[in-house]
């Protein structure tokens, strides 16, 4: 009630007028009433009423916060957070070595960034994750939907369909091996059509469309509350050309990062971004570093770098608050399984293929 007039979210012109007229606290405004306010400042009665409604809403929100209710800030103890984190699901990638170094898979409510040279497999992993997020809970998944924002045009529907078919087949094998009721029930709704219909695809051609889409994303996620994964494939591409003003670019990227963090937390979804690599010329060597500059490195919580070593693809966990830095090899495969089915999935080289009986460690039944 004692809130200063200058801190209220009114339009600047109105604020300036109120301060010039000598109003100091919100209490004074509420006491004056709309008619008195309109006469004193010289605005219409409707405008005065609108301003008072804003003030009243702000004060009500403040009161709720001081009373300890849930406002825009959350208070909880570390124990509550621990319990929440332990029950939280991961989005598995079907490559157990990759899931291991990530600590179980791609985490919800966190931003994960995947950097890599062209052709190394970033889009493949994103398509895999968009399918894996939909795995029903009885198979160890989070049963969510996916939003795929594509800035480079590298999303191939046929490939996504192949990955989805493989995933369905994998779950069918598990169900056949264990013959449980809820498995068979879940499989009825888990099909190729349902997987593809729950991948919401946006094609953004430049950075303005990307910014606009991210502004609209909270509304979209409120309508589609089952979304658990937001993929932005190619966050670097629209920002890397035609930008003379680098400080504007940094500001827009920071704003984007903040909005994505809010989205990840409020809607309990994972945000996955892919970044490009750029060459940095140092004194002794030229090396590949993630694009978009140093300050962008702070945006993501977890950073994975995909690179080559001769003919082997490697994934390095570069930044993570909870896991150790490590590197694992991986392959992108396609091979035949059971006559006409092709299973295409990321698979750690050297480790045995995921057999139905020794499934992913997250499937607690096995």
């Amino acid at each position: 009630m004692q809130r200063d007039v200058g801190s209220l979210p009114l339009s600047p012109a109105l604020r300036a007028r109120l301060l010039a007229a000598g109003f100091q606290t919100a209490q004074e405004l509420l006491e004056t009433g709309p008619c008195g306010l309109s006469k004193e400042i010289g605005i219409s009665r409707e405008e005065a009423l609108e301003a008072l409604q804003v003030v009243r809403q702000e004060c009500a929100g403040d009161a709720a916060k001081t009373a300890g209710g849930s406002g825009s800030t959350r208070k909880c103890t570390a124990l509550e957070l621990l319990e929440e984190e332990q029950t939280q699901g991961f989005i598995i990638t079907f490559c157990s070595a990759l899931d291991n170094i990530l600590g179980g898979g791609v985490q919800l409510t966190k931003i994960t960034e995947i950097c890599g040279a062209p052709g190394v497999g970033k889009t493949q992993l994103c398509m895999q994750l968009a399918v894996d997020v939909q795995i029903p809970e009885c198979f160890g998944g989070v049963a969510g939907e996916a939003v795929f924002i594509d800035t480079e045009g590298s999303f191939m529907v046929d490939r996504a369909a192949d990955i989805a078919t493989a995933c369905v087949r994998h779950c069918q094998l598990i169900a056949e091996a264990h013959q449980e009721e809820d498995h068979l029930q879940a499989l009825e709704t888990f099909s190729l059509e349902s997987i593809l219909s729950h991948i919401y695809y946006f094609r953004c051609r430049d950075y303005i469309e990307l910014l606009a889409q991210v502004y609209l994303l909270p509304d979209f996620l409120s309508e589609h509350s089952k979304v658990r994964l937001v993929v932005i494939d190619g966050i670097a591409f629209p920002f890397r050309h035609d930008f003379e003003d680098l400080s504007l670019r940094t500001r827009l990227l920071n704003g984007l990062a903040q909005q994505l963090i809010i989205i990840a937390n409020d809607h309990k979804s994972a945000v996955v971004l892919t970044n490009q690599m750029t060459t940095r010329f140092g004194q002794n060597q030229s090396m590949l570093v993630p694009a978009l500059g140093e300050s962008w490195g702070h945006a993501a919580t977890v950073r994975l770098i995909f690179h080559w070593d001769n003919t082997q693809r490697l994934a390095t966990l570069y930044k993570s608050p909870s896991q150790k830095e490590s590197t694992i090899p991986y392959n992108i495969t396609t091979f035949h399984l059971l006559k006409s089915f092709k299973i295409i999935k990321l698979r750690a080289s050297g480790l045995p293929r995921c057999a139905a009986s020794t499934c992913h460690p997250k499937c607690r039944r096995y």
Partner: protein, 356 residues
């Protein structure tokens, strides 16, 4: 979309006039401002500014489609998703051929057959759908003056002798290949910008640019300061225009590139700079100064890292021995690494099977 004027974003007239006083006329200007700046400029409260942001975003944001809708649309017209190259093993691995709606790059040292491949693809695009073509016209942007109409007729006549049995059919085919000779970067960019209208008026189904690298490397010398950034800018702008056109009309775009040797002069090239499809056969050359410092070199596609990110599919042509060459799929969202051997004959490229 970014240059959309605000009055078409359904903002009120007086608001647009007020904003134009601050030089904010397009959606791009509006969305680049922070919330506080927007409040100052529009004179609205915090809540109203957020509502305005949402309105402007709605005007700019892309439409949503589910992956299922995309698949259904593709399955209605399966032949429109790829342009078969008539090299059967290559087509099988590529799930049909050169994909429509994305950029395909062809890289090779000189003389391997890039232009031959491009000429063959031009012939294929004019064939009717029943024979695996796209039944449309072709735009061929030639920067090296390497296109030869006689070779075009030779390939057409030898590859499809039963179809091109009369002169009439040959002339019909040649009439639908539109050749443009562009010799500078600016003219190439201008030509790319004019593509949208040409595609609609001439019913184009394939765009070929042969070659991007020659015109870019003529004009930009990356050792001079500032040229690297300008070159990347030009390439990125060209790439995004071509991608827009390719996706909008769902047609394939083929670009050709050159090979460059990147010498590092004593600096070690980290192994993750190049993918295994690049030829490392020139590595480990000792330095000319004789100081014993190793000067490793490797052969990569020209035009830099950023360009490599822009193209969706990359095919590399290389020499295998005196007569045979090989084609390597270096980057593709649907195909793994594969190698095929071929020779260049009268009828164009012909796949060979090498028994070791």
């Amino acid at each position: 979309m970014a240059t959309k004027k605000l009055r078409r974003a359904k903002l009120s007239q007086e608001l647009c006039e007020r904003l134009s006083r601050y030089q904010i006329t397009t959606c791009q200007d509006f969305l680049c401002l922070s919330l506080l700046e927007l409040m100052k400029v529009t004179g609205e409260s915090y809540r109203n500014v957020q509502k305005l942001l949402r309105k402007v975003s709605l005007a700019c944001a892309p439409k949503m489609q589910t992956a299922y809708e995309m698949k259904v649309r593709r399955s209605i017209n399966p032949s429109a998703a790829f342009l078969p190259t008539s090299l059967h093993s290559l087509d099988k691995v590529l799930h049909g051929g050169i994909p429509c709606g994305s950029l395909t790059e062809l890289t090779s040292p000189p003389g391997c057959g890039k232009t031959q491949f491009c000429i063959t693809m031009s012939v294929l695009a004019t064939l009717p759908v029943s024979m695996g073509g796209l039944d449309g016209a072709v735009i061929y942007i030639d920067t090296e003056s390497a296109f030869s109409a006689e070779r075009l007729i030779e390939i057409a006549g030898n590859r499809f002798p039963t179809y091109f049995d009369s002169d009439e059919k040959l002339f019909c085919m040649t009439r639908s290949i539109h050749l443009y000779r562009e010799l500078t970067c600016d003219s190439v960019l201008k030509r790319i910008k004019s593509l949208e209208e040409e595609i609609i008026s001439k019913k184009i189904k394939l765009i070929i640019i042969d070659s991007v690298a020659s015109v870019v490397r003529k004009e930009f010398d990356t050792k001079l300061q500032g040229n690297l950034a300008e070159r990347s800018n030009f390439l990125a702008r060209g790439a995004s225009l071509l991608k827009y056109v390719a996706e909008e009309f769902s047609i394939p775009v083929i670009l050709t590139n050159q090979i460059t040797t990147s010498l590092s002069n004593g600096l070690a090239i980290p192994a993750d700079l190049v993918s295994p499809a690049h030829d490392l056969s020139l590595s480990e050359v000792t330095g000319a100064s004789g100081s014993g410092k190793k000067e490793s070199a490797c052969v990569t596609a020209a035009l830099g890292n950023t360009w490599s990110h822009s193209v969706n599919t990359r095919l590399i042509l290389q020499y295998h021995d005196l007569l045979t060459r090989q084609i390597v799929i270096a980057k593709s969202p649907v195909a793994p690494f594969s190698t095929f051997f071929y020779t260049v004959e009268k009828s164009g490229l012909v796949l060979q099977v090498i028994h070791s």
